[in-house]
């Protein structure tokens, strides 16, 4: 029974972890791309990694917190423009191929010895080198706080302040996305998703709108990247393709083209993923299941289930939990 409570507490903690909030924001960015505009960005992890590097490197160079945040967003902006200009006039899968490749280039450059002086190479940047300015902003008093079953220090890496800040940013971003998607601008985006040619016939510059959407979603990705590394370290290998695919699963689980979908998807996905892994590990350690599934296999089976979930989701419920099937035509150009 204690074991069960421990597993449930861990899942709950994971559902409100700052990294979950970071994935929610990255998925909101993807939602702008895919859900509202119909762009297939398969390189969201590249945006996140660039944001993390932008934030980390500029903070280490001495920039104050908000300047470093701006630099991180700027990095995402430039990356989106560079990717968007050649690909947005082509069919959708070209954008997918180019974004996934570009994200890998960023990761390879980050982990190579070429820029090791700034990026720290494959071992990345240590958290203590760039977290100072963020933790100095904390208004919380020193000490620890316990709320329900969860206990964290007030200020620090894995702290209440990180959680408060991350979910605060999620709230602001949600408000922002809700406002812009119901504006005339957002309606043009949806029009592009449904029928590009019709929007073009109305005199809109489709290419420019697509680029704006790519930039905005990419900047959200960078913001998510900053939040992701605030409680962790900047490790290029942790921010690869798997991260992009998880962000996609989060988006499709919650429901594309909905405001709250990515947030709900992120909380459910990471809560369930943690529940499944800790549950299987507990079973494997304490019962006869361990003879069949060893603890090392738990991660692999977990990964397989994520892949299978993504497949089944897209096949049987492409609109996710909150989505509207009619709105998700899916046939992107």
């Amino acid at each position: 029974m204690d074991e069960l409570i421990r597993i449930l507490t861990q899942s709950l903690a994971e559902a409100i972890a700052p990294t979950t909030a970071a994935f929610a924001i990255a998925a909101i960015g993807l939602n702008l791309h895919f859900g509202y505009t119909g762009l297939l960005n398969m390189g969201q992890a590249g945006f996140m990694l660039l944001g993390a590097y932008g934030f980390g490197i500029s903070t280490i160079a001495g920039a104050p917190f908000f300047l470093a945040l701006l630099i991180a967003l700027g990095a995402g902006l430039i990356f989106a423009v560079v990717l968007g200009i050649p690909t947005l006039q082509l069919r959708g899968d070209y954008l997918a191929i180019v974004t996934i490749s570009a994200a890998e280039i960023i990761r390879w450059i980050g982990r190579s010895t070429w820029l090791q002086e700034w990026t720290g190479g494959a071992s990345g940047l240590q958290g203590r080198n760039y977290k100072g300015t963020f933790q100095d902003l904390s208004p919380l008093p020193d000490g620890r706080t316990t709320i329900g079953p969860l206990e964290y220090i007030n200020t620090g890496s894995d702290s209440w302040w990180t959680r408060l800040f991350a979910w605060g940013v999620v709230a602001v971003v949600l408000l922002f996305v809700w406002l812009i998607t119901r504006s005339p601008w957002g309606r043009v985006l949806k029009g592009i998703r449904e029928d590009e040619d019709a929007v073009r016939a109305l005199g809109k510059n489709v290419y420019s709108y697509k680029l704006q959407s790519l930039v905005l979603g990419g900047m959200l990705g960078s913001l998510g990247g900053v939040l992701y590394v605030l409680p962790l370290t900047i490790a290029p290998d942790a921010m690869g393709r798997t991260m992009t695919f998880f962000a996609w699963t989060v988006l499709l689980l919650g429901g594309a083209a909905t405001v709250f979908g990515p947030v709900l998807g992120s909380m459910i996905f990471f809560g369930a993923y943690m529940l499944m892994r800790t549950g299987m590990r507990a079973l494997s350690e304490n019962t006869g299941v361990g003879n069949i599934i060893s603890t090392t296999n738990v991660e692999q089976i977990g990964g397989m289930l994520v892949g299978a979930t993504l497949m089944l989701l897209v096949i049987f419920r492409p609109q996710g939990i909150l989505g509207n099937k009619k709105e998700l035509a899916f046939n992107v150009r």
């Binding site: 861990q10 972890a17 990294t19 970071a22 297939l40 200009i85 050649p86 082509l90 069919r91 899968d93 070209y94 997918a96 191929i97 180019v98 996934i100 490749s101 570009a102 890998e104 280039i105 390879w108 982990r111 190579s112 010895t113 070429w114 190479g121 494959a122 071992s123 992701y228 962790l232 490790a235 290998d237 942790a238 690869g240 393709r241 798997t242 991260m243 695919f245 499709l252 993923y273 603890t295 090392t296 296999n297 738990v298 692999q300 089976i301 990964g303 397989m304 994520v306 892949g307 299978a308 993504l310 497949m311 089944l312 989701l313 897209v314 096949i315 035509a329 899916f330 046939n331 992107v332």
Partner: protein, 501 residues
Amino acid sequence: MTSDRPHLASVLRRTAAALAIALAPLALTAAPATAAPGTATPVSTSTAAGAATPAGTTTGTADVPTDCSPEESACVAAFVLTEENDRIPDVAVTITGPEDFSATFTTTADMQSVAVPVVGQYTVAIDPATLPADQPLPEGAATEIEVTAQTGATARAAFRVGADAAAPAPTQEETTSAPADDGGEAPAESDGEGVGAAPEGDASQGALTWAQVWQQFGSGIRFGLLLALASIGLNLIFGTTGLSNFAHGEQFALGAAFGFITINQMGMPVWLGAILTIAVCALTGLAQDAGVWRPLRRKGTPVMQLMIVSIGLSIALQYVIQLLIGGGSERILSNNPRPLNIAGITLSTASWLSMVVALVCLVGIAWFLTRTRLGRATRAVSDNPALAATTGIDPDKIVRIVWIMATGFAALAGLMWGISFGSFNWQLGVQLLLLMFAAVTLGGLGTAFGALVGSILIGLVVELSNLVIQSDLRYASALVILILVLLIRPQGILGRRERIG
């Protein structure tokens, strides 16, 4: 228009024919492959350095034999590297391990490996006093590295020295990447010594010579031929169904993984293991088409949705491969490579054989596509499925054959990749997938021969760029080309304008 209908009557026979086509070239070369048993594997993951300087040779005088081949025993290797990855000679190294094992030798410019009697944990220690004066050990760096020796592999301990060298980088070939047992952290992707990671020995050092360029050219052709064999399938699938199959890289890695299981673990001869591997992987293609893709096509599912399904499949397959072969680097053939010099290019004998097999297969595919009824029907479906259907071709059957061929050839390419490039890990698929995409985009999406041209070019670019940029960035050069192609000529070299919409 019944005359356009393919002659072979039953589904079964068509399937058999496609399998036979996939297997025929292999049977041709199976004889030489068995005639030269144990033609084999470069020890190093570096394609350039591994082929040029076969590991395990030594010239230095040492207290113990330092030419261990991992064929029959476990080996422990040690080398001391400067910041520029040059090996430092004349450093005293002591290896100690279980059962009071102890060996001392001095390093040379080549790799030194010592045969150890039992598998287990060994401690490799260097004597800092024997280091050159201008290359001191960095502050706080360890003089000892623990490695795990395993049969059929060389465990490596690398010491990095120099005035301001980074943290010492102990590399170990048989790393079993510990899955993140984190409890609270978000999932991490461990990418230790992937194919994209920096292998030791960097060809970018020193002056360029024509011999080096020529050698890299040869490696590039090898790379390109194997890539072509895999990416033609990707392109045929795209051509006939419009799907950019993100799981194709995993089909490639699945070939290498099954090859490892059948040839290395079960001890089958190479030709039998290869046939079994191709058969099993071709069956996965058939099963995928029947179980997933055909029903989805029937439902009229949009292509973009199919693409995300293929991404889900790729994630799932990635972890299946991890379950099959574990998280570390594996090799299909465990003995040392036999270098063979042809026209000034030194590659392992297995590599040359793989190139021949790949070439035969490619010629076979070309013949199939241009000269046979079924092949022409395939191209007709690529051009316009509806029109092809009205002339009596059954697009579903053609697509099924394409899936079987694509997965079969991808498996063969993956298997030969694993044999000729030494070790591989479960990440092989995704890394190669991006290069395949670069190749087919460069050649022209949906055109079978474009994939061939694009692959050879990408292979050459990857291997030749090794000469001028760091080897850990060489795959990036191919992806930069991909982006440049889209800027300048988005339809690719052989593509047509209307495809890119």
